[in-house]
């Protein structure tokens, strides 16, 4: 699950604005939907209670109560939430609306689940109810569940209120099974390269929403995870024996070569999908799109391939390209996890983790997350110093050297006398 804690303020601000809008439009909306919902339900949304109380004196009992008290009272009766579930159909709005419902600690996905423990059960009643969920932002399953309550028709605009019912009816009529979707995250969003950096491990984990596989072993789904570094140009050189010496004679420059690349999958990617799909997403070493630099005279295809293979081979030798054909394991029907090593020599720069969900060779869903890889502390300072102020850096290096020499000679003198 993606935790979008980076912009909580903006999110809450937006949410507040929507809440105000909802208040302004409340009368008509409430009139439309109010009857369908338990009277107590509004209690769950203290901030809105407060906002709405003045304009909605006729609101059901409980509305006028002080907000936090109201929330506190609400705690024991969380069962009240379930009926709201159909509102899942609103996923796209849910994140904003969740925020004003401040009892929920934040918009952080996982955090909200425990807040509504009992809500989970009633959630399941019919598959049809869950159907529209796939419209939700992949990373925010929990807000989706919370959303219904927030978006309670009473406070939504008429237009908004109409949507879910429409969607529900549709899905109910079609009777399709819910679409599978992958949700994932990485264990470390930010890797600091400090003076003690000796490499690290990144765990990628996630789940298949609406998984239809019976057990972890049934192998209905395939997961492929790639972690890519920045695309950079790379020069490949080939040595030839010239008069007894091995000398670089031929060179080929490729563009768009990921500085780092790891591919882990539930089984070899060649078995997972066809080359076209893999190429399109750069899944697997052979499917990394590295192109000869334009302008230069391109060698024949066979030679170009040998240069390409050399790039991959050398990168693998440096542990910068890694592959694990069975490196992703399902832990349950839907949960999977995998670990990828970042070696100490990993080139500094942002990494992107992609998680792909396949079924029967078809790419069902994908998910991406960024991992920042930055120099920190003295490493960062030294590197910036060397590259931003090279002259001063050089002078500093000489200064240190002279100082070291002088200190050494003075120590030696003291020692010898």
């Amino acid at each position: 699950m993606q935790i979008r804690s980076s912009k909580p303020l903006a999110r809450q601000g937006l949410a507040a604005a929507i809440a105000l809008l909802a208040v302004a439009l409340a009368p008509s909306a409430f009139a439309q939907g109010g009857g369908q919902w338990p009277q107590q339900s509004p209690q769950a949304y203290p901030p809105q209670q407060q906002l709405q109380a003045p304009t909605q004196p006729q609101y059901p009992q409980g509305y006028g109560q002080p907000q936090y008290q109201g929330y506190g009272q609400q705690q024991p009766n969380q069962q009240l939430y379930p009926p709201l579930q159909p509102q899942q159909a609103y996923p796209s709005q849910s994140p904003q609306q969740v925020a004003p419902a401040a009892p929920l600690p934040s918009t952080a996905g996982g955090a909200q689940v425990p807040a509504y423990p009992s809500a989970q059960q009633p959630l399941q009643p019919t598959p049809a109810q869950q159907l529209p969920v796939h419209a939700a932002p992949a990373q925010q399953p929990a807000p989706t569940q919370a959303a219904p309550s927030l978006a309670a028709p009473a406070r939504a605009t008429p237009g908004q209120a109409a949507k879910p019912t429409g969607a529900l009816q549709q899905t109910a009529q079609v009777g399709e099974l819910p679409k599978e979707r992958v949700e994932a995250d990485v264990s470390t969003r930010s890797v600091a390269i400090t003076s003690s950096f000796t490499g690290t491990e990144i765990v990628v984990f996630g789940s298949v929403e609406n998984s239809r596989q019976e057990t972890a072993e049934s192998g209905l789904y395939d997961i492929a995870i790639t972690i890519e570094g920045t695309a950079t140009p790379v020069v490949t050189r080939k040595k030839e024996n010239v008069g007894g010496l091995w000398i670089n004679t031929k060179a080929q420059t490729f563009q768009g070569v990921p500085s780092y690349y790891a591919i882990v999958s539930t089984r070899p990617v060649s078995e997972v999908a066809e080359a076209a799909v893999l190429n399109a997403n750069q899944i697997g070493f052979e499917h990394i799109s590295m192109k000869p630099i334009p302008g230069a005279k391109a060698p024949p295809a066979s030679e170009l391939d040998s240069f390409k293979e050399a790039v991959i081979r050398r990168k693998q030798a440096d542990k910068l390209y890694q592959k694990s054909d069975y490196g992703v394991a399902f832990i349950g029907r839907s949960l999977f996890r995998s670990a990828v090593n970042l070696p100490a020599n990993v080139p500094v720069g942002p990494l992107v983790a992609h998680v792909y969900l396949f079924k029967d060779g078809k790419l069902l869903s994908k998910y991406s997350s960024k991992v920042s890889l930055q120099r920190e502390g003295i490493e960062r300072y030294m590197h910036d110093f060397a590259f931003d102020y090279p002259l001063f850096y050089g002078i500093f290096a000489v200064f240190i050297a002279v100082a070291a020499g002088l200190i050494a000679s003075s120590l030696f003198k003291k020692g010898s006398h």
């Binding site: 000796t198 790379v234 080139p347 060397a386």
Partner: protein, 308 residues
């Protein structure tokens, strides 16, 4: 205990580089040489990019030369005027060398060029030194008296213009030969990551006929300034000076040099030279071996240079 080197961009064991610095420092203290010709190949063998090894070694040579230069200066063994002429040439040669390093890195021939210069110069110097020291040993064993003084003689060098008087060296010669020698040594130093004492000292003795008592001091004097300039130029042109690595080598080096100097006092001059010659030839052969054996992978990759 590992440490991440900021410029070399690799994680390395502190003790390996401290030990390397100490071992080379021991040898340089024993033989009275800078040790760059040993350290740079060692760094390259241990996985440090060749260009970073060369740039970083320049900084380390400043450290190892500065105390020697000051000691020699105090004993009035430095011909400042000669040193200034040499280092003027040296800085120019070094500037050219740094640019050559830059170009060679771009066309992918830097490693080859470094290896070839090492094999050539270590081979020549090592062989000459070995022959000379073995001859001396044989002569001393035969009971002959060995004269360190060579008869003064006129050569084509004395016909060149721009004559200058070098009081400390008791010479009145053209400024052109010292400038050229300085430039050549500076150029080599920038490319090979060495101070160039092993070229400078014989050149001063045999070509310029500088008295031996001022040769070492003057050579050290110019090495300090030329390698300091080289360090700054490598830092600004190639971004290949790793201060952290240099400091590790310096610490190991100064400690090793103290023990080496003590050990060196127990050996005779010609024995030391024979040992040093053997060491130089070993390094030479090791590098030559790398050039002629079939590499395990004919291909190599590198990032684009100069795109920063």
């Amino acid at each position: 205990m590992s440490f991440y080197l900021p410029i070399a961009e690799m994680s390395a064991s502190i003790f390996i580089f401290l030990g390397m610095g100490a071992a080379v420092g021991f040898l340089s203290g024993m033989f009275g040489v800078g040790g760059g010709f040993l350290m740079t190949p060692l760094l390259i063998f241990s996985g440090v990019p060749a260009a970073v090894a060369v740039g970083t070694e320049a900084a380390q040579i400043v450290a190892s030369s500065v105390s020697g230069a000051i000691a020699q200066y105090r004993r009035n063994n430095v011909d400042i005027k000669m040193g200034v002429v040499l280092l003027t040439g040296g800085v120019v040669g070094s500037a050219i060398g740094v640019q050559v390093v830059k170009i060679l890195r771009q066309i992918g021939q830097f490693e080859l060029f470094v290896s070839l210069t090492y094999v050539t110069f270590l081979g020549i110097i090592g062989t000459l030194m070995l022959i000379e020291s073995l001859n001396t040993i044989r002569k001393t064993q035969a009971g002959q008296k060995v004269s360190a003084r060579r008869p003064g003689q006129h050569s084509w060098i004395h016909g060149l213009p721009f004559k200058m008087r070098f009081h400390r060296s008791k010479l009145y010669i053209s400024a052109i030969p010292p400038l050229l020698i300085g430039a050549f040594v500076g150029f080599l130093g920038a490319i090979m990551g060495v101070g160039g004492g092993f070229v400078m000292v014989p050149a001063m003795i045999y070509l310029l006929r500088v008295p031996t008592n001022v040769v070492v001091g003057t050579s050290l004097f110019q090495i300090v300034f030329v390698t300091a300039a080289t360090t700054i130029m490598h830092a600004t042109q190639n971004f290949t000076v790793d201060i952290v690595l240099a400091m590790l080598l310096m610490i190991g080096g100064v400690i090793g040099a103290q023990f080496g100097a003590v050990a060196g006092e127990k050996l005779k001059g010609e024995q030391l030279r024979a040992l040093l010659a053997g060491l130089v030839l070993l390094v030479c052969l090791r590098i030559a071996y790398g050039l002629i054996t079939t590499p395990s992978d004919l291909f190599s990759i590198s990032g684009m240079m100069g795109g920063h």
